[in-house]
């Protein structure tokens, strides 16, 4: 089936403006939040209902046409990068909050609903949806499920996988899977967890039931500055070691604080090697005690300056800088490349000094923002795409950082997903057997490999060519056994 045949086939059940195929209409879909990767899709389909999603998938399944699902397109790993011969399935029109049950504390929503819109709808009941990725004003809940998105509060409140209870998923052959339940568990295998973070490879989500959390009565933040990264890292360990689970704990290095200070005037200490934001939330009594405790620990850990937010306005001001880190990078550099490794916190100082050395080696500046509570590191490599070779250099620099994360016992992606971007690093993180199992899981849902082909899990051949395949002891373990 060629593009025009496909368009007319889809237009038998979709209005003509829900099927796009002119170049100028396709252009907005050629990339997601990772704009370094671009690809025009064959066509774009914009279903308005679950039934239309099913019909589109059935057409594609029969004609063996690839399908790439897309939410708000804010993803940072090229997970929604279109397929040249495929349908880009935009779920943006499925944006209804179908049900909000304030007593059971759940909301049933369509995948195109924005993350923040759920919290806004729940606010009247003193509830909110806890995962708060920095793109929450724009990103959709369907995309959050695909990437298992986190946010600055996830050490205490969990990731997407901890905050959803039910999904409706359409498989590539048009079957409806009702995964999860209105209770706290479901019979059989935990497909809810398997679907979360599966990057649109296993099915298309048409409904998400999320858990809503009571809004804490109060939140307060401590801003501490440190002379060196190691003491800042120690301060983080000391807070956790004291039995405190902060609502948020974020670190920024000097180049970052300087970049954001110029922009938001949060009053950060510009001479500090690192600043730490540590937030407590809960009842007024709980917060008062925790803040007092955090202050003591920061002082004991060698902070050169400690400030506690006196009111809500000051709390937001302290956070404003952290939240502005990405736009600030955009202000001081024509382009930046955001990495997303996770490391055990204890290796923070080593990994950061490694990054500093690489920064010198590649001649590129790097800002570091760190979700210190959960070990998720976001180095922002600053570059200029107009300088020939600089993007390639940046990618090499980034790959080296991810390699360091693996060596430190961490992972190549904490929350942004593998997508197209980190597919080669998957060869370093996993062995053949594991990659084969990922392909097998994919095949259990999508035997023809039509959903988001080429993303998230590299082919074994790609790994062999990439040269990073880990063959254990130089051989496959059980060569006599059948392989899939």
């Amino acid at each position: 089936m060629n593009a025009l045949e496909l368009v007319s086939r889809l237009r038998t059940f979709l209005p003509s403006d829900a099927v796009l195929h002119e170049i100028e209409d396709l252009r907005p879909y050629e990339c997601d939040g990772l704009s370094a990767y671009r690809q025009m899709p064959l066509i774009v389909a914009l279903p308005r209902t679950e039934n239309e999603v099913i019909e589109i998938l059935e057409v594609c399944y029969v004609a063996k046409i690839p399908v790439v699902a897309r939410g708000a397109g804010t993803g940072l790993s090229g997970g929604a990068l279109p397929h040249a011969e495929g349908v880009l399935l935009s779920l943006a029109k499925l944006k209804q909050i179908l049900e909000l049950d304030p007593v059971a504390r759940t909301a049933r929503v369509q995948p195109g609903v924005r993350n923040l819109a759920i919290s806004e709808a729940a606010a009247a009941h003193g509830l909110y949806y806890a995962p708060d990725p920095s793109s929450q004003i724009a990103c959709s809940i369907g995309g959050n499920v695909a990437e298992n998105s986190g946010g600055v509060h996830c050490l205490k409140y969990g990731l997407t996988v901890h905050n959803i209870i039910k999904l409706r998923v359409i498989t590539i052959d048009g079957e409806i899977l009702e995964i999860g339940a209105d209770g706290l568990d479901a019979p059989g295998y935990d497909l809810l967890a398997l679907m979360t973070g599966s990057e649109g490879m296993l099915g298309v989500v048409t409904e998400v039931t999320v858990k809503l959390t009571p809004k804490p009565e109060k939140a307060q933040v401590v801003l501490a500055a440190f002379n060196d990264l190691r003491s800042a890292g120690d301060a983080v360990a000391n807070v956790i070691g004291a039995g405190i689970i902060p609502a948020g704990m974020e670190m920024m290095d000097k180049i970052t604080t300087r970049a954001v200070e110029e922009y938001v005037h949060a009053g950060y200490n510009l001479d500090a090697a690192a600043i730490l934001l540590c937030e407590a939330d809960g009842t007024a009594e709980e917060v008062a005690e925790e803040i007092r405790h955090i202050n003591e620990i920061m002082a004991r850990s060698g902070a050169i300056e400690i400030r506690t937010s006196r009111d809500e306005a000051e709390r937001l001001k302290f956070w404003a800088g952290r939240k502005a880190a990405f736009p600030a990078a955009g202000r001081i550099s024509p382009d930046y490349y955001c990495m997303d490794g996770t490391i055990p916190r204890k290796s923070l100082a080593n990994v950061l000094s490694g990054i500093e050395a690489l920064s010198v080696e590649y001649g590129l500046r790097c800002m570091n923002v760190f979700h210190a509570g959960d070990g998720n590191l976001h180095p922002l490599i600053l570059y200029d795409a107009n300088q020939p070779g600089e993007l390639e250099l940046t990618e090499k620099f980034g790959a080296r950082i991810l390699q360091m994360c693996i060596q430190a016992g961490g992972t190549i992606t904490g929350e942004h997903g593998v997508g197209m971007e980190k597919i080669d690093q998957m060869c370093s993180q996993f062995k053949i057997g594991e990659l084969k199992m990922f392909h097998a899981v994919k095949a259990a849902f999508d035997p023809d490999g039509l959903l988001n082909p080429g993303k998230a899990v590299p082919t074994l051949r790609r790994c062999a060519e990439h040269g990073a395949m880990h063959v254990h002891r130089g051989e496959e373990k059980f060569p006599g056994l059948p392989r899939f």
Binding site: L184, D190, E285, K431, A456
Partner: protein
């Protein structure tokens, strides 16, 4: 300890070659759970034929750094040993797993996926699993997830393994997120009827209060507060009721099912449903946990073990947005787990085929099809 892993892999492969099932078992404290695959007397032949793979020997904590909030332990590690070690550092398994006997192991805990009273507030076993090392049905040594809190590289096989009852692979090592022990804990009791209790549970759960467990039985609501001392005291003042002396003992009886309600040989059903579901009119005594989302039902008499009753229980659970499990029974012929829709069973069967193509690991423990 690699030799043990090699032995396990050999056993799995030998079973595959002989096309004989293999029952994975460690402490045996949860033999009762799921369709019966282990005979009542261990010396008797297995109902399914084949042999038992005893995974107890692969035990011990591999890595534990309290300030990372992560522990990695071998699956044969006794749950009590693990919890003792965590407590020494002021930490705990926040999902408060039931042991059901001194021999309970980490592997059994993760494989059955059972969580205790703190589940509604803190999360379930699966919420704390960060990574696994396992042998699949071919005996291949695989690692998924890791030792960090945030990790989206590859599909979440670690959580898929949780609660899969050994039908997808043999767990070797598990990495878990751990949490600090609360600074203070106290238990309140408030007499009320069931309807009021369900309303209260849901009302409080919607407020930012440090409620860590809640249970209703025989006209009394029990409620545990956990956290910083000032927060617990403030919540206690809001919630009223009487403080009980032996709170820790009480929650242990609920968790371990030594509470008098469970002291029976009559069939015990577990209904996991929407928390706001009004009182269920089903024959038998009930104990409510998890803020209303878990209802234990002890049948009035063994005579109630009929298909009509089973189907009434399943329908009630389904109507309440959940599912019913025949948790304990002596010799009931009813299927243990709630039936899946054909589309869900289809995917389930295909996943089983991928992990265990010879279908040798714990066949039939969850459903006959897998």
């Amino acid at each position: 300890m690699q030799y043990l892993i090699d032995q396990f892999a050999d056993t799995i492969q030998a079973a595959g070659s002989a096309d004989e099932p293999l029952i994975i078992r460690s402490g045996g404290t949860k033999d009762f759970y799921g369709s019966r695959v282990v005979p009542l007397a261990l010396a008797d032949p297995l109902p399914s034929g084949g042999g038992i793979l005893d995974a107890t020997a692969y035990a011990g904590i591999v890595d534990y750094e309290p300030t990372e909030l992560v522990v990695t332990a071998r699956a044969g590690t006794r749950l009590s040993d693990l919890e003792t070690e965590l407590a020494r550092h002021g930490q705990m398994l926040a999902f408060e797993p039931p042991h059901f006997g001194a021999g309970a192991t980490l592997g059994g805990c993760v494989a059955t996926g059972l969580s205790g009273p703190r589940r509604a507030s803190a999360g379930a076993v699966r919420d704390f699993v960060l990574g696994v090392r396992m042998l699949d049905g071919r005996g291949e040594d695989l690692r998924f997830g890791g030792q960090v809190m945030k990790n989206v590289a590859g599909y979440d096989v670690s959580r898929l393994m949780t609660g899969s009852m050994g039908t997808l692979g043999l767990l070797l090592e598990v990495s878990l997120k751990v949490l600090p022990l609360p600074a203070m804990e106290l238990t309140l009791c408030l007499p009320m009827n069931e309807t009021e209790a369900i309303e209260k549970m849901n009302f409080w759960a919607g407020k930012p209060l440090p409620v860590s467990a809640i249970c209703f039985c025989d006209g009394v609501l029990f409620l545990r507060l956990s956290g910083a001392a000032p927060a617990v005291r403030a919540a206690r003042a809001i919630m009223g009721g009487e403080e009980i002396d032996d709170g820790a003992v009480f929650w242990e009886t609920v968790r371990e099912q030594t509470h008098p309600l469970f002291q029976t040989r009559k069939p015990l059903w577990r209904l996991s449903i929407k928390s706001t579901t009004p009182p269920l009119s089903l024959p038998g005594n009930q104990l409510i946990e998890w803020g209303g989302a878990l209802r234990w039902l002890v049948m009035d008499s063994a005579d109630a073990d009929t298909e009509a009753v089973h189907s009434a229980i399943r329908s009630a659970a389904k109507a309440a947005g959940g599912h019913a499990t025949l948790f304990r029974s002596d010799g009931s012929c009813a299927p243990v787990f709630h039936p899946l829709t054909p589309a869900m069973m289809n995917i389930t069967r295909r996943l089983k085929e991928k992990f265990d193509p010879m279908r040798i690991l714990n066949p039939g423990r969850i459903y006959p099809e897998i």
